[in-house]
């Protein structure tokens, strides 16, 4: 009678672990009775039960990550209590890989929606529709900064951050570098590009070379102006600071991914009297750049710079689509806030990515 009561107060279930690559079964259990130790036992259809893991009273689930997909496994839990040994009922499950991560459905919907908007406006732009993009002071000032450095007879310094070419911000920085380098070539100015990654150096060399060719001035292109310093974060900052102090560039551009070195670089640049324009998508570094630089491209403005500068209708179309995405998020935030205020969690539950 006591044993029946103990078994009844102990529930166990086994199921294929959802949203995974297979080879995993999850065991859920709950017990209201105190136990000294517990063991998870497993067997397949033609074998004997063997001990797989130990559990303690705070555990409520255990994941078996060593299963063969398509094979049925049987589980039971054996608890040692003060009254004696209690064994749970035997449950079974079969593991299998999934074709779709259901916890990310809302993410897929959002990606499709935003990409749909972007593609729609790219199509519109291709059809010749005029698209308005608000003026961005930081981007407008790029040419002015190059011009000022040229007037002062000083070089231009361009830093693409400390991350490699697998970072989208570095790619965005390289894109802006091309525009700056082309303008510098037109003005017969030199662009110094110290890099902290070898791949970035190679990409920057190609980009600047193309820009000088585009401007019709390949004769003044100097590949030695685009050089590798070090992969070390503060070593790179020290190297750039040294160049700023020695070469006294007329304009300094910080375009890419920056971390703690951002203010060290920007403050040193400020002390040299250079006009400074920064662009990054690192929220924690933005206040430093806003403080120390003349212009700062904040987050999305930084990614929009290449489209803005090129005036290519296809690129501008993508900006318009992005704005519509923003509108959707804005609407969701407003509706979600109102609903949450009244204790309705439906929007929050729908938008949660698991």
């Amino acid at each position: 009678m006591i044993l029946l009561f103990l078994i009844a107060s102990f529930s166990i279930s086994a199921y294929d672990t959802p949203n995974d690559a297979g080879s995993s079964i999850t065991l859920k259990f709950s017990s209201s009775l105190p136990f000294i130790s517990g063991e998870v036992m497993r067997k397949n259809s033609d074998g004997e039960f063997e001990r797989m893991a130990s559990i303690c009273s705070s555990d409520s689930s255990w994941m078996d990550n060593f299963t063969v997909d398509g094979v049925e496994y049987f589980y039971k839990i054996v608890l040692t209590t003060e009254e004696g040994i209690v064994t749970s009922e035997t449950v079974s499950a079969v593991s299998s890989p999934q074709w779709f991560h259901k916890g990310r459905t809302i993410m897929l919907v959002m990606v499709i929606l935003v990409c749909g908007f972007i593609l729609f406006f790219i199509r519109e732009a291709r059809g010749g529709k005029e698209l308005y993009v608000r003026p961005i002071a930081g981007i407008e000032a790029l040419d002015e900064a190059v011009g000022r450095a040229t007037e002062l007879g000083r070089p231009i310094m361009f830093i693409t951050g400390i991350m490699d070419m697998d970072d989208l911000q570095t790619i965005a920085g390289i894109t802006i570098l091309r525009r700056v380098a082309k303008k510098a070539a037109e003005y017969e100015a030199q662009v110094l590009v110290p890099t902290s990654r070898s791949l970035v150096m190679t990409a920057a060399q190609e980009t600047v070379k193309e820009a000088y060719y585009d401007a019709g001035r390949p004769d003044i292109f100097n590949p030695d102006n685009i050089f590798y310093l070090t992969d070390d974060q503060f070593g790179f900052a020290a190297g750039c600071d040294g160049i700023m102090v020695r070469e006294k560039p007329g304009a300094i551009f910080f375009m890419g991914s920056f971390y703690a070195e951002s203010l060290i670089l920007a403050e040193t640049g400020h002390s040299t009297g250079a006009i400074q324009i920064a662009g990054t998508a690192m929220p924690s570094q933005l206040p430093f750049f806003v403080t120390a630089c003349d212009y700062t491209l904040i987050g999305e403005e930084f990614f929009a710079a290449s489209a803005y500068l090129s005036r290519d209708p296809l690129q501008l179309g993508s900006l318009k689509g992005q704005d519509w995405g923003k509108l959707i998020f804005f609407a969701l935030i407003v509706v979600g806030t109102v609903l949450m205020t009244f204790g309705i969690t439906v929007i929050r539950n729908i938008l949660m990515v698991r």
């Binding site: 897929l108 935003v114 490699d164 193309e210 060290i264 806003v290 690129q315």
Partner: protein
């Protein structure tokens, strides 16, 4: 072809990386790590290019006796010395390489990082000057947060830490999240431009 093949590779890899996020099963499950490993392999080979560039420029500087050539001697000695100590005696604890790293490289990095405190002070001094209404608001908020987050703040007025916390958790967090939503959308838009080949400046040509 010089342009078409990189664009095709970008398109395929871009689409695959998006798809793998939503499909947990093999072969998609391991693709993210696999591509990252491929990138690391390429980056390691590219490091040789960077090293060659570094050595060439500094040797050139020494030959021409350009200003600051003394620093080039230190750099080249450091480079060669570190490579040799690492290659000859390994990089484990107690090795000469480890000694150089712990006693030279790390303190120098820490020194640069420590400079940040002084740069923050000078930047704050400029930012917090009450020139207009916006700057005054910034100044007031900054003073409240700074005082509210140190022990003396609670001694001056016990509500100061709560005010500082409120500023950080609500107005500051709201601003941060607005920026982050913009960044996320900008990233999606830019990635799509790169994947579709609309943005191709990074390839070295328009």
């Amino acid at each position: 072809m010089k342009r078409q093949i990189p664009l095709l590779i970008t398109f395929i890899v871009g689409i695959v990386m998006v798809v793998q996020y939503f499909i947990p099963r093999q072969p998609f499950a391991g693709l993210f790590d696999t591509f990252n490993q491929w990138f690391l392999i390429i980056a390691v080979f590219a490091l040789i290019l960077g090293l060659m560039n570094l050595v060439r420029l500094h040797v050139q500087k020494l030959r021409r006796m350009k200003g600051g050539w003394g620093y080039s001697i230190i750099l080249l000695c450091g480079l060669v010395g570190t490579i040799f100590t690492g290659a000859l005696w390994g990089i484990g604890t107690g090795s000469p390489f480890n000694y150089v790293f712990v006693n030279i490289q790390q303190p120098m990095g820490a020194t640069m990082f420590a400079l940040l405190a002084f740069f923050i002070a000078s930047a704050s001094f400029r930012a917090f000057r009450a020139r207009n209404l916006d700057a005054t608001l910034l100044l007031v908020a900054a003073v409240l947060v700074m005082i509210g987050r140190v022990t003396i703040g609670a001694l001056i007025w016990n509500k100061l830490p709560h005010i500082a916390e409120w500023i950080m958790s609500y107005p500051n967090m709201a601003g941060q999240r607005a920026i982050m939503i913009g960044i996320a959308l900008g990233t999606v838009s830019y990635s799509l431009r790169v994947i579709l080949g609309i943005e191709r400046t990074y390839l070295g040509g328009e």
